[in-house]
């Protein structure tokens, strides 16, 4: 029977300090019983001699120095796991909130996880077809990858995440099971509802595990939310052999919670007041994506960040970019010109793409085609910069061709819409149609063989004429 401690020494923000504690271990979970009979949970974050600093998950409001009884539970924060967890909804701290009772635990696991031994990782190589051209064609998502969406307030990152869930073949072809773990951290009620509704409409709700920490829930729980979610994801992937897609939104709120917690612990702040260990902390989440040798399942992560003030050098997006394997960046200009999904192609990147595409995966020309599209679209930006100074009329013929190419690229290749689900072949062919509108001499990243096979200007003109109802920019026809 474990010992109970009556009263507290100090209360400071979300932290309480307990004195004269014996036999307490670092990161141990405690149960705090209030006079009115309710209980809260907390975690030991620092020990000094006989004093233990404890963070209270549900916040410290209503606590006083005398009205509590604290009990040490003797183990670090754990979550109950079983297959029946699918379809359930939990709060950020891992407690069921859907009224269906506690989860019957087949096993329990420490939510902090353990570092994966790099030797045991399997390098991810199988691509996930999301049906979205700007992702499949240019920034391919690979099973076992961590690929965040960099967005901002007011942009359709949630729709994009839902579209990926709807269209993606998360499980591979061999009849394997898949699951979706959704972690909401400090998001609005509406957003959580939107996801719930979308999962129901798609008919995947019984495959989803939801962890909801809404924006008015306690911040300490927010720090636990992604850890609970990832522990569940690891269990489903490595014990139940499922392919798991984890969606975490919004990482920025998570980081702010961490900052709040850090400052109440009186730690020395790093950049913009965020704690110096923000990189290590984020890495301990993101690095839990992957595939393990000898296991059938995988954990793929799509974290969503709303970048304050669209400044990509903000610590949250900056550090995320250094850890994750690329990023999908949403572009406000595209969004304002009604392009959906507004994926800013140039700053986006998928690091694992190069090994998961090409012959045997997608198609042999995929790699050079995407590089060529990137290079051409980069030239579009140069032409636009020049046009904004001297006007489009004054540009050379080739620059005007690039301008027209850029418009079609954004309208059809990127802006496919919420309902369109493209096969990989369609995406690749569309890429070639676009490239065929440019003079063949401009295409310096593709080999002669591919040009002979796919470059066809007449076909391209017919294709876009048909799409635009017989209209096509004159400049594209000039040879």
């Amino acid at each position: 029977m474990s010992r109970q401690y009556i009263g507290l020494k100090e209360i400071k923000g979300p932290l309480i300090i307990l004195d004269q504690v014996e036999d307490v271990s670092f990161e141990e979970v405690v149960e705090i019983e209030l006079e009115n009979g309710s209980t809260r949970f907390g975690r030991v974050v620092e020990i000094q001699g006989q004093q233990a600093v404890i963070q209270v998950f549900e916040g410290t409001s209503g606590l006083s120095k005398i009205n509590t009884k604290t009990r040490l539970l003797g183990h670090p924060m754990e979550i109950a796991l079983s297959r029946e967890i699918l379809g359930r909804i939990f709060n950020g701290g891992g407690k069921p909130i859907d009224g269906l009772g506690e989860v019957y635990a087949q096993t329990k696991a420490d939510i902090n996880g353990h570092s994966l031994n790099p030797v045991m990782r399997k390098y991810p190589r199988n691509y996930i077809n999301t049906g979205i051209s700007a992702i499949d064609g240019l920034n391919t998502l690979i099973r076992g990858q961590k690929l965040p969406i960099f967005s901002g307030s007011g942009m359709p990152h949630n729709q994009l995440a839902v579209q990926i869930v709807k269209q993606a073949n998360i499980a591979s072809s061999e009849n394997q099971e898949f699951a979706i773990v959704f972690a909401a951290m400090g998001v609005k009620n509406d957003v959580a509802d939107f996801f719930k509704r979308s999962f129901e409409e798609t008919g995947v709700m019984e495959k989803v595990v939801m962890f909801l920490n809404l924006s008015n829930d306690p911040i300490i729980e927010r720090i636990l939310t992604p850890r609970c979610a990832l522990t569940v994801a690891e269990y489903l992937a490595y014990t139940c052999d499922m392919h798991v897609l984890v969606i975490m939104t919004d990482v920025t709120s998570y980081c702010e919670a961490l900052r709040e917690f850090s400052s109440s612990k009186e730690e020395i702040p790093g950049r913009k007041g965020y704690p110096g260990y923000l990189y290590s902390d984020l890495a301990s989440l993101y690095e839990r994506a992957g595939i393990v040798k000898g296991k059938k399942g995988s954990v793929t992560q799509i974290p969503i960040l709303t970048i304050p003030n669209d400044d990509i050098t903000h610590p949250v997006s900056d550090l995320t970019g250094y850890i994750t394997e690329g990023q999908i960046v949403l572009d406000r200009n595209l969004h304002q010109t009604n392009v959906y999904p507004p994926i800013g192609v140039l700053p986006s990147l998928s690091r694992l793409m190069k090994d998961g595409i090409g012959e045997g995966y997608t198609r042999a020309d995929h790699s050079s085609l995407s590089t060529q599209l990137f290079a051409c679209y980069a030239k579009v930006q140069d032409a636009r910069a020049l046009a904004s100074v001297i006007g489009e009329e004054e540009l050379s013929l080739i620059d005007r061709k690039y301008m027209a190419f850029g418009r079609l690229f954004e309208k059809y290749y990127v802006g496919q819409g919420f309902k369109t689900n493209r096969k990989i072949e369609e995406t690749l062919d569309l890429g070639w149609y676009l490239l065929s509108l440019l003079p063949i001499g401009e295409l310096d990243r593709v080999s002669k063989e591919f040009l002979e096979e796919y470059y066809n200007i007449d076909l391209a003109i017919t294709h876009f004429m048909a799409l635009q109802g017989g209209q096509l920019d004159e400049v594209l026809r000039k040879r």
Binding site: E46, G49, P118, I268, Y279, Y286, A375
Partner: protein, 584 residues
């Protein structure tokens, strides 16, 4: 084992003990019942502060702390190559066999395999006098590298016993050395060395040989010397890791030490997989045979990340002492600096710039100064070359780690986001990168490549520089208004940028380019420029010259001419002449 002290406080990886005596600064200690590895980093009149290299979850007040009486050291001996270690040199492959998919905790794994037998050939006999550093035995460690066992530096004397040549494990006593006081030292294949201390050298040599990388932008424009130090700064997605991988694959060092310090786990997996498939172009043996990996990924404990850099450089110095040329890739030193910051914060030290501790510059300089081209104590020659990646926050090169690194390296390869966006790889920006080694290496280029080489390089650099200035104008008013001779500069610069600087790491011919081909390509570009200038002076237009397609043909040389048929490049002079003669 008797405990020497007990835990008084715990804060993340920092543990303190109260009123303990006898701990040494930087001594290795074992903390708690699990015997987690730690290091003493501070001693005052009341508390001794210890940083623990493993997760402290579950640790309790009052658990014991054990002394080891020695500083944190690396285990040096055969079996290092082809292996993968964590930051404190625990073998990850063996750990996986014992404890499965997760990194385990506590003491119990030795760095090197103690049961494997090595085929050992003795190099000394009874009665020989030996000094510290002398090679007394060798064994073929891998198909590429002969491991040379050296007398530890503090020992000298007469060999009083040797074992027969044969197969032995690393702990077998191979020779006994009796020193002048009659003390007998038994030497096996392994020795220990404290990682934070540089291994001594005989004499530092003048830097004079380049590290050949096969990457055109590096070899030609911003070379690094054997024994030099280079930094690769760049924001995320600019290609730091790609550059490091390319160098690790293709550079002409004998040994590669690759330190993955606080980076992605999948990147280490990729190195492991790729290197075992890739074959060294000279010896046709797998690249893993010359490589050792130190993997302390971003989710592994932060204190061990701080140590991983030192473990790596100590292994590099050990092979240098055997007479090898070693290249150390550290990816990324910023994560190491952040680990310093994190520990410093937990110690509540006064922060300097951006929260980094005030001793950041001195730590960075200590690390880079361990590079060098040296004559070893045993009179062999060896070198350690350091190539450190830097990950500046927000790709802003003015932050402390980049700035301080810049002071202590002599080659600086700045990766540029806008080049990376346009998929120009390697995205090394030719305007802000530099190499101070060019002058040191001039003599080598003159004798080993060609006397014209350095001049050609300067010509190309000035064309690129001129292009940058012209682009300022073009950005404002378009290229149509430029006179023809300036348009020619733009065209030639395009050939250099696309046809020479851009290099495709995934193309079988282009991934590594020998010096001879690099030189001939430069000559061709220079020839094309000279001939075009001549033609322009005869009232031909630049439009007509480019219409021949010869510029595009030159751009494609890198793919069209294979590395083993370099003589084909000579036919291009004729092609240029023909094309330009056709201009009306």
């Amino acid at each position: 084992m008797k405990a020497n002290a007990s835990i008084y406080s715990i804060n993340g990886p920092v543990v303190k003990t109260k009123l303990a005596v006898g701990f040494q600064m930087l001594e290795m200690v074992y903390v708690g019942h699990k015997q987690l590895l730690g290091e003493v980093i501070g001693i005052n009149d009341i508390y001794t502060t210890i940083q623990v290299y493993e997760s402290t979850t579950g640790l309790k007040i009052g658990e014991p702390i054990f002394k080891s009486n020695s500083p944190l050291g690396a285990t040096l001996g055969p079996g290092i190559l082809t292996n993968i270690f964590d930051g404190i040199q625990r073998p990850l492959k063996e750990m996986a066999e014992i404890s499965g998919m997760y990194v385990s905790e506590g003491r119990g794994l030795n760095a090197l395999n103690e049961t494997k037998l090595w085929d050992i050939t003795l190099k000394v006999k009874v009665g020989d006098k030996v000094l510290g550093g002398d090679i007394f035995a060798t064994t073929p460690e891998t198909s590429l590298i002969q491991h040379r066992m050296m007398v530890p530096n503090h020992i000298k004397g007469t060999v009083s016993f040797t074992i027969e040549n044969g197969s032995y494990n690393i702990n077998e006593i191979l020779i006994i050395v009796t020193d002048e006081y009659g003390i007998q030292h038994s030497l096996s294949s392994v020795q220990k060395w404290p990682i934070r201390q540089a291994r001594p050298v005989g004499k530092r040599q003048i830097i004079s040989v380049p590290l050949i990388t096969g990457q055109r932008v590096i070899d030609t424009f911003f070379p690094i010397a054997k024994g030099g130090a280079a930094a690769v700064p760049g924001g995320f997605g600019a290609g730091k890791t790609m550059t490091q991988h390319q160098l690790a694959k293709w550079c002409d060092a004998d040994i590669i030490v690759y330190v993955g310090c606080g980076e992605r786990g999948n990147e280490m997996t990729q190195v492991l997989e790729e290197f075992s498939e890739l074959v060294d172009p000279k010896s046709h043996k797998p690249l893993t045979d010359r490589t050792v990996l130190i993997a302390n990924t971003s989710n592994m404990p932060v204190a061990a990340r701080e140590a991983s850099i030192y473990t790596g450089i100590t292994l590099a110095e050990y092979y240098r002492d055997m007479g090898y040329h070693v290249a150390l890739m550290a990816d990324s030193t910023s994560r190491w600096a952040e680990a310093l910051r994190e520990i410093s914060g937990r110690l509540e030290e006064m922060p300097a710039e951006e929260g980094f501790p005030a001793y950041l510059p001195s730590r960075i300089s200590q690390f880079y100064e361990r590079a060098g081209y040296v004559e070893n104590i045993n009179h062999t020659e060896g070198s350690v070359t350091i190539i450190g990646a830097v990950s500046p926050q927000g790709a802003d090169f003015s932050e402390p780690v980049t700035q301080n690194t810049k002071r202590f390296v002599r080659a600086f390869w700045a990766l540029d986001k806008s080049l990376a966006y346009a998929r120009h790889f390697p995205a090394i920006n030719w305007n802000i990168s530099y190499s101070e080694y060019m002058d040191d290496l001039r003599k080598w280029y003159d004798t080993n490549v060609d006397r014209k080489f350095v001049g050609l390089r300067a010509e190309m650099m000035s064309i690129l520089h001129e292009e940058t200035q012209l682009m300022e104008i073009v950005k404002l008013i378009g290229s149509d208004v430029l006179p023809d001779d300036q348009k020619l500069i733009l065209e030639i610069a395009r050939v250099i940028r696309v046809g020479y600087l851009q290099q495709n790491a995934f193309h079988p011919e282009d991934t590594f380019v020998p010096f001879e081909k690099q030189f001939k390509m430069l000559q061709l570009i220079s020839y094309l420029k000279a001939q075009s200038v001549r033609l322009l002076s005869t009232k031909r237009t630049i439009r007509a010259i480019t219409a021949t397609g010869i510029f595009d043909e030159l751009i494609k040389i890198k793919y069209d001419v294979k590395n083993n048929e370099i003589e084909k490049l000579d036919t291009y002079y004729e092609k240029i002449d023909l094309a330009l003669a056709s201009v009306k």
